[in-house]
């Protein structure tokens, strides 16, 4: 029994070490990380979201790789030897692909800069490109080390429905690395009047959609505009995924 298990482990390890040649990614964040690390020609397709400039930092590169819509049928027909997915993305589709005998690897969304570092290394291992991943990680670490420390302003994000990012989120950690002090201990909704009373020194808002919504209308409230604080806008694409590019976001927030 033990020997069988050991044999299984060795076989699995062997399969993982072999460099996959036809990789399909179905999640915006694995899409972009894979495009950074994969060797040319290794990626078969990435998700269509990666080609949407409002959420993706690499729309042109995504289009040149080729796009999928994350459906099981579409992905299966591309005959991949590795499928990259997010923990929460397209559950039924990835389940079905697993049943069909495909190798599906999921990556959890990054909630801190440390998570990003780990994700880079893991992506390198999955793609069989440890050297390329090590290069990306070394550059990332150098950029992090060179990050200027800004003034410790009391800051918070404020978005649709009054949601703020807490310390356990990637945006919270990026703000902390930029030298900012988070206004909220926990993530969650904050009523506009609580925000006014908390007297932040910097309010960070995100992207707006072209058509209006009641959820976002709180961002147009005159009371929000009247708060005597600095403003910064960080488009969602700049920190929605744990990518090395978040250093640039931290750098802008530090100023």
């Amino acid at each position: 029994m033990v020997r069988l298990a050991a044999a299984l482990v060795i076989t699995l390890a062997g399969a993982a070490a072999a460099e996959p040649q036809r990789v399909v990614s179905v999640n915006l964040c694995t899409d972009q990380l894979a495009m950074l690390i994969a060797a040319p020609g290794q990626l078969q397709s990435v998700s269509w979201l990666a080609a949407d400039p409002s959420v993706s930092l690499m729309p042109d590169q995504a289009r040149s790789v080729g796009l999928n819509h994350g459906s099981a049928e579409e992905v299966f027909l591309q005959d991949p030897d590795l499928i990259l997915a997010g923990t929460y993305s397209t559950g039924p589709a990835t389940e079905m692909l697993r049943r069909l005998g495909m190798r599906v690897e999921t990556m959890a969304p990054a909630t801190s800069v440390e998570d990003v570092r780990a994700a880079i290394t893991r992506m390198g291992a999955l793609l069989g490109q440890p050297a390329r991943a090590a290069k990306v990680l070394a550059d990332f670490d150098a950029d992090l080390a060179a990050l200027p420390k800004g003034a410790p302003r009391r800051a918070t994000t404020y978005g649709a429905n009054g949601y703020t990012s807490g310390p356990e989120t990637l945006s919270g950690d990026v703000m902390r690395r930029a030298g900012l002090v988070l206004l909220t201990e926990g993530a969650g909704q904050m009523a506009l009047e609580q925000l006014v009373m908390a007297a932040p020194e910097l309010i960070v808002t995100g992207s707006r959609y072209p058509t209006p919504s009641r959820a976002e209308s709180v961002l147009d409230h005159p009371a929000l505009a009247a708060i005597p604080a600095d403003r910064a806008t960080v488009p969602d694409r700049d920190w929605i995924c744990g990518l090395p590019a978040i250093v640039g976001t931290a750098e802008r927030l530090a100023q």
């Binding site: 009523a191 006014v196 058509t211 959820a215 976002e216």
Partner: protein, 324 residues
């Protein structure tokens, strides 16, 4: 008069409570001082967040109460209520279409005008379908049909929106909320509400005469087509404006006239003013309840209203059955 004075006092009291209750949790004296001076963070909260919310609650409630009383007087049917018979839902549809097509940003009053257009269509259709006598069955059937259609189209428009938040907003448009409204919303709704109130106010004598029947009213010198026009435009303006800024809030126009009818001697003309004040008090109270029950979760007004309204509605039906 003996009803109006206590109701006014109640409204004033609830306005004050609405100003003093909120998640920022400041003291009573400090809050009022900040409201007066407008200085500091608390001044901003009082003047720009709580004050417009309280004023809007008052205006929306008065509009819905008055509209309900006027429709019930004209149709001589206690079930005629803007929320119940689809006027609010149609106004919401008008508002949603205006918002999603961008028409709402074309000029300042575009949003309430679109909601008013939706409401005019619904009120007109109801009056045609229910007929001058306002038979209960025809009224409710027409109302259910219009409600369902307007609600479904509102959901469709929001589902088709490219904004991912929009689909969640179906709840707001069907249940109503006063959270995070500003003076801008007061400014765009108030002119329409004032115009509607002026139109309905003048209809009081006609509504009183109508209790004697159409022929008797006509012989008393009431111009019935004109009364009908006043009613359609007045109700549409008030409900349209209220819905455009606060969503569809149901049951106000049903519950309030029902509770006050006895106190004004069952005269529809006198019921108008009383219902306006009563509606304002009810919506203010419900908006306070929303903030006390689940602070910070934006519980919808319609939920609280339905909790109050549904029993009254059932009581009405029960009484009608026993009356026959």
């Amino acid at each position: 008069m003996k009803v109006l004075l206590p109701l006014s006092a109640l409204c004033a009291l609830l306005m004050l409570a609405s100003l003093l209750i909120g998640p920022a949790g400041a003291g009573l004296g400090g809050s009022l001082a900040a409201l007066w001076s407008g200085e500091g963070a608390l001044g901003l909260v009082m003047r720009e967040i709580r004050a417009p919310r309280a004023v809007l609650g008052l205006l929306v409630g008065a509009s819905l109460g008055l509209s309900g009383a006027a429709m019930q007087g004209y149709l001589r049917n206690p079930l005629a209520e803007p929320g119940l018979i689809g006027v609010s839902a149609s106004a919401a549809l008008g508002a949603v279409i205006a918002l999603q097509t961008g028409f709402a940003t074309a000029f300042v009053l575009a949003l309430p005008i679109a909601a008013l257009a939706g409401a005019v269509l619904a009120v007109g259709l109801i009056l045609i379908m229910a007929g001058p006598g306002g038979g209960s069955l025809a009224l409710i059937l027409a109302g259910v049909a219009i409600s369902a259609l307007a609600g479904a189209l509102t959901s469709l428009v929001l589902n088709l929106s490219p904004n991912p938040f929009a689909a969640n907003e179906i709840v707001f448009w069907m249940m109503g909320s006063l959270a995070d409204r500003s003076w801008l919303h007061v400014a765009i709704a108030a002119p329409f509400m004032a115009a509607g109130a002026a139109m309905l106010w003048g209809a009081g004598r006609g509504l009183d005469a109508l209790t004697l029947g159409e022929d008797a009213a006509a012989s008393l010198g009431i111009d019935l087509p004109r009364l009908r026009l006043r009613l359609v435009l007045g109700v549409a303006a008030m409900v349209g404006a209220a819905t455009a800024v606060a969503g569809a809030i149901g049951f106000v126009g049903l519950v309030v006239p029902h509770l006050l009818r006895g106190a004004v001697g069952a005269r529809p003309g006198r019921l108008l003013a009383a219902s306006a004040l009563g509606g304002a008090a009810l919506v203010l109270a419900a908006d306070i309840a929303v903030r006390l029950i689940l602070p910070g979760r934006d519980l919808k007004l319609g939920v609280v209203m339905a909790l109050i309204g549904a029993p009254v509605f059932l009581h009405l039906i029960w009484r009608q059955r026993r009356g026959r």
